[in-house]
């Protein structure tokens, strides 16, 4: 079946194998358990520092989970995808795959979709189980917020998976690919905000102040944070976002589009490079 010039049977064959590999080696199960356990623990003990334990309000729970997801999910996605292509090349199996009637783009797309299915399954099932448990005591609009958090988590995972697959196309060996993947995690999760704050302080808030919200959009982890925090009044105040981030930019559809661009652009770059 050919659609948009792509033979989807070949894409499906590659994607199905990648997904089945992750099911068979229990990767999906392990990551699902990690998400479930961490999310449950954070939901229950998230307010322990304020002297109370037990399930909190949905806003506080999501705030705690956002912090967890921002650290954990990018790392898991990068580890999942960094050797997608370079691993095949290094093992010597890439030539055999490319001798088949499949284009390089179809191979890349199949790899990405298979890994994305594994990551999305773990994210949705892991956080979904917790959602069911805590959802028993919550009103419908709180559940709506939780579903939004889950969807944005899926998007965040797909963004970093896209970056990982791109790294795997550009590098010549797995060691270098893993190093670059970890460096990307450090940059987006730890360093980017510090650099931004440093620049803000150094410029005395004059120039950087106006640019600051736009620069935040250059980091998908920040976009994810804004997506989940800005829509909730208490959290927006708590994080101080009201003063630095204009409401006009915080439209979920707009932020979702930015996250989607973060998925498509690196993959497009990878496809271009892989074709060379």
């Amino acid at each position: 079946m050919s659609l948009l010039g792509i033979e989807w049977q070949q894409v499906g064959a590659i994607a199905a194998k990648e997904f089945r590999d992750r099911i068979r080696n229990r990767w999906v199960l392990a990551i699902t358990l990690v998400f479930t356990v961490f999310a449950l623990v954070i939901s229950y003990f998230g307010a322990a520092s304020q002297g109370s334990v037990g399930l909190q309000g949905i806003e506080a729970t999501i705030a705690s989970l956002v912090s967890l997801v921002i650290y954990l999910l990018p790392l898991i996605a990068l580890i999942l995808g960094f050797d997608a292509i370079v691993g095949e090349r290094e093992r010597g199996s890439l030539d055999l795959l490319l001798s088949m009637p499949i284009t390089r783009f179809e191979l890349l797309l199949g790899k990405y979709l298979g890994l994305a299915a594994a990551l999305t399954s773990s994210t949705v099932i892991g956080f979904g189980l917790v959602g069911i448990i805590i959802g028993l005591n919550l009103p419908l609009d709180a559940l709506y917020q939780y579903v939004g958090f889950m969807l944005s988590s899926v998007l965040l995972g797909l963004v970093f998976l896209s970056l990982a697959v791109t790294v795997s196309v550009f590098t010549q060996d797995r060691t270098r690919a893993s190093g670059i993947a970890i460096a990307l995690w450090f940059f987006f999760v730890l360093v980017f905000d510090l650099l931004l704050l440093g620049a803000l302080v150094l410029s005395g808030g004059q120039v950087m102040g106006a640019l600051f919200p736009y620069l935040l959009l250059l980091n998908p982890a920040d976009v994810f944070r804004i997506l989940n925090i800005f829509g909730q009044d208490d959290l927006r105040t708590m994080y101080g976002l009201s003063s630095v981030f204009p409401a006009a930019l915080a439209n979920p559809a707009y932020l979702g589009a930015i996250m989607s661009a973060w998925i498509i652009l690196p993959l497009g770059l990878a496809a271009w490079r892989f074709r060379q």
Partner: protein, 302 residues
């Protein structure tokens, strides 16, 4: 069927394939020989469109190998890479089914193919439990998926035992009878010299010679060996009979003599030996082997 025209592939300053011209006809069993690093595998990759050439053009069934139309050719093409790497976590049958799906070949043919290459009993075992020979057989089965009209086999008998090698060539013979074009490389020259229609000798990225084994032998002009079994006291008569001929020194052993002569002097030598009548009890002429021919063309590098 396969047309390679003035094709060059360089990696930095190294010309892995250097100005190669080659034409392989439909239904031909063609061998590619050369020392390690001669450029055989790179030429394979160029012919399969896996790497772009720096210059020149390669067409298979009229299609440029890097063109969009080559996808259809790939459906009728089988490839067994040197040192094949398969997926350890799949069973033999799952491996074939995966590649069948990629190739658009019917999944139902997989079990039969595994039986054909001698893996019928091991089809449900994970590939990680396979020996090197079994992996090679599975790789060969993969190359046979989709009833290919063209087979590229890079060192296909690596890791196979003698029985496996015999079975492998039996299948190749059947495929050749069906008109399949086969291109293979091998380090075991004695194995392919009786089986290929033509072969090419590669050295430092260039084709040194192309032709049938017999043609290459003649073109290489390597000496022939005459081994004579002599009657008692026949040595002086032999030396006298050969006195007028240009020969390397004769090597004598009790009742035996070994002579080396150029191909052009064969008939004169034969006449001289025949003139000795019953003093020569037996005569055996040895043609240069493919190894000799190969070493002659490759400058002695094996």
């Amino acid at each position: 069927m396969i047309e390679v025209h003035r094709t060059t592939k360089a990696y930095g300053p190294i010309h892995a394939v250097d100005g190669v011209d080659l034409s392989i006809g439909a239904g031909e069993l063609f061998g590619l020989i050369g020392h390690n690093g001669a450029g055989k595998s790179t030429l394979f990759k160029l012919m399969l469109g896996l790497v772009p050439a720096n210059s020149g053009e390669i067409r298979i069934e009229g299609q440029p190998v890097r063109g969009a139309g080559f996808r259809q050719v790939r459906r009728r093409l089988g490839y067994l890479p040197e040192n094949i790497v398969l997926y350890d976590n799949l069973t033999g049958l799952e491996t074939l089914q995966f590649f069948a799906r990629l190739k658009g070949a019917p999944s139902a043919s997989c079990a039969g193919l595994l039986t054909r290459v001698g893996l019928g009993q091991a089809s449900q075992r994970r590939v990680r439990t396979y020996s090197k020979g079994m992996r090679q057989r599975l790789g060969f089965a993969q190359a046979l998926l989709g009833a290919p009209r063209l087979l590229f086999l890079d060192e296909p008998t690596n890791g196979l035992d003698p029985e496996g090698i015999r079975e492998f060539y039996q299948i190749l013979r059947e495929m050749q009878d069906d008109g399949v074009t086969i291109v293979l490389t091998s380090h075991i020259l004695s194995e392919i010299q009786q089986r290929v229609d033509r072969l090419a000798v590669m050295r430092n990225g260039k084709i040194q010679a192309v032709g049938s084994v017999q043609t290459l032998r003649q073109a290489a002009d390597l000496p022939l060996y005459f081994e004579l079994t002599l009657a008692d006291g026949a040595e002086p008569a032999l030396q006298q009979a050969l006195a007028g001929l240009t020969l390397d020194p004769i090597q004598f052993a009790p009742h035996r003599a070994t002579l080396r002569c150029a191909r052009a002097g064969k008939m004169a030598l034969l006449a001289a030996v025949t003139s000795l009548g019953e003093q020569v009890l037996d005569l055996h002429i040895t043609e240069p082997s493919l190894e000799d021919v190969f070493l002659g063309y490759s400058g002695g590098a094996a």
